[in-house]
């Protein structure tokens, strides 16, 4: 079953599903899909649940043992990619 969206920064036309460690995110309007790797899926799950990027970065740093600054960059880059693919609203990447 498709996952429900809780974050209003995710576009209405977007649905997604986690299978194994990976999430597939689909824009029903364009039919484009985005396949996230394990860390991308971690970020996406938190973001779609409504968490702020700073909190997600903290969780990412803790979960994967990476430097906080690197985790922040990873989250920002990921959200920028999603904004580019029109999965999230542009303000999500700011």
């Amino acid at each position: 079953m498709p996952e429900n969206k809780k974050n209003p920064l995710i576009l209405e036309s977007v649905t997604w599903r986690k299978t194994g460690d990976e999430a597939v995110i689909l824009d029903l309007e364009s039919s484009n899909y985005y396949s996230a790797n394990e860390t991308g899926t971690f970020v996406w799950e938190q973001f779609s649940a409504g968490k702020k990027p700073e909190k997600i970065a903290e969780g990412l740093a803790e979960e994967y043992g990476i430097a906080p600054a690197q985790a922040r960059r990873d989250v920002e880059d990921f959200l920028r990619d999603l904004a580019k693919f029109k999965i999230v609203r542009p303000e999500a990447a700011k």
Partner: protein
């Protein structure tokens, strides 16, 4: 694809993502012969009248599904016999779906009522392939029995109404390749709202036949956009010789495809992983469904 639910479109997206991530030696489709039983006795069927009544043990089915998911097989096809007769089909679809597998039902559609289609969709089934051998009811019924066309046509409607991705599946003979039969069948499938058509060339009981390659060539002209597909590849060989499909029967016996003559071994005893490795190519245009060997032990 037209008129698909959000869930079905997401199923397709997940399938595409998993197909793109597939490793060498891993087939894109694992056919699972859930039962040798069938409620039809089609004249062209190689199983008809020869198969036993054995169903795949549920524990084996769960092991195979889990192994397929672990190996990165994107799609499983519930096959028969007639898989709608398999007890626990909905449970199998739900289990496979939870594992992230794209689940397909290859059925004659005779008992696919609207309620059953909705129950299967709710369980997690993604797609149906419904046997329809001609757009002409009398010709279809001559192969599959009186009234079978009407029931298959109703099943197409039930499948679509349940939000399932719906294909027709047809066995093609030399005679139907020559005339307008094939074009008529595809036109019917489109009118009925099927999302695509899978056409399989009839393999003779003995000897070799170039029909699969001829069918692939004909489809390239009739359906250049890919609405209708077959298992033979345009450059020679087929999905089975390319290692893109694998079949496991009710007793665990593994073949290159459901119609292949030779068995490769038994996944119940050796595990599915033993068969998920790159295999040596079979010289084209040898098709494993041809050659006159018995399909069943």
């Amino acid at each position: 694809m037209r008129n698909l639910s959000a869930g079905a479109r997401l199923d397709m997206a997940v399938l595409k993502a998993r197909l793109a991530a597939r490793r060498p030696g891993v087939p894109h489709s694992l056919f699972l012969g859930l039962t040798a039983r069938c409620d039809l006795a089609c004249r062209h069927c190689k199983y008809s009248g020869r198969a036993g009544t054995k169903d795949m043990p549920r524990a084996l089915l769960r092991r195979l599904l889990a192994a397929a998911a672990r190996a990165g097989v994107p799609r499983v096809v519930f096959f028969g016999g007639e898989p709608l007769l398999y007890p626990g089909l909905e449970e199998a679809a739900a289990f496979a779906s939870r594992l992230g597998l794209f689940t397909e039902l290859d059925t004659n559609g005779q008992t696919l009522s609207p309620d059953r289609a909705r129950a299967l969709a709710a369980a997690g089934l993604s797609c149906t392939m419904i046997s329809l051998h001609s757009a002409n009811a009398a010709r279809h019924d001559a192969l599959s029995g009186r009234g079978s066309f009407a029931r298959a046509a109703a099943a197409i409607g039930a499948s679509r109404a349940a939000g399932l991705i719906t294909y027709i599946s047809s066995c093609v003979f030399s005679a139907s390749l020559a005339g307008k039969e094939l074009a008529g069948l595809l036109a019917y499938a489109r009118r009925a709202g099927a999302h695509g058509a899978r056409l399989l060339a009839y393999s003779p009981p003995a000897g070799r036949d170039p029909l699969p390659s001829r069918l692939a060539g004909r489809l390239a002209r009739l359906s250049p956009e890919g609405y209708a597909r077959t298992c033979a590849l345009p450059g020679g060989g087929c999905a089975a010789t390319a290692g893109d499909v694998l079949y496991c029967g009710p007793g665990g016996e593994v073949r290159r495809c459901p119609y292949a003559g030779a068995a490769l071994g038994n996944a119940g005893r050796r595990g599915l992983a033993a068969f998920l490795r790159p295999r040596p190519a079979t010289p084209a245009p040898v098709f494993p469904c041809q050659g006159g060997r018995s399909l069943l032990k």
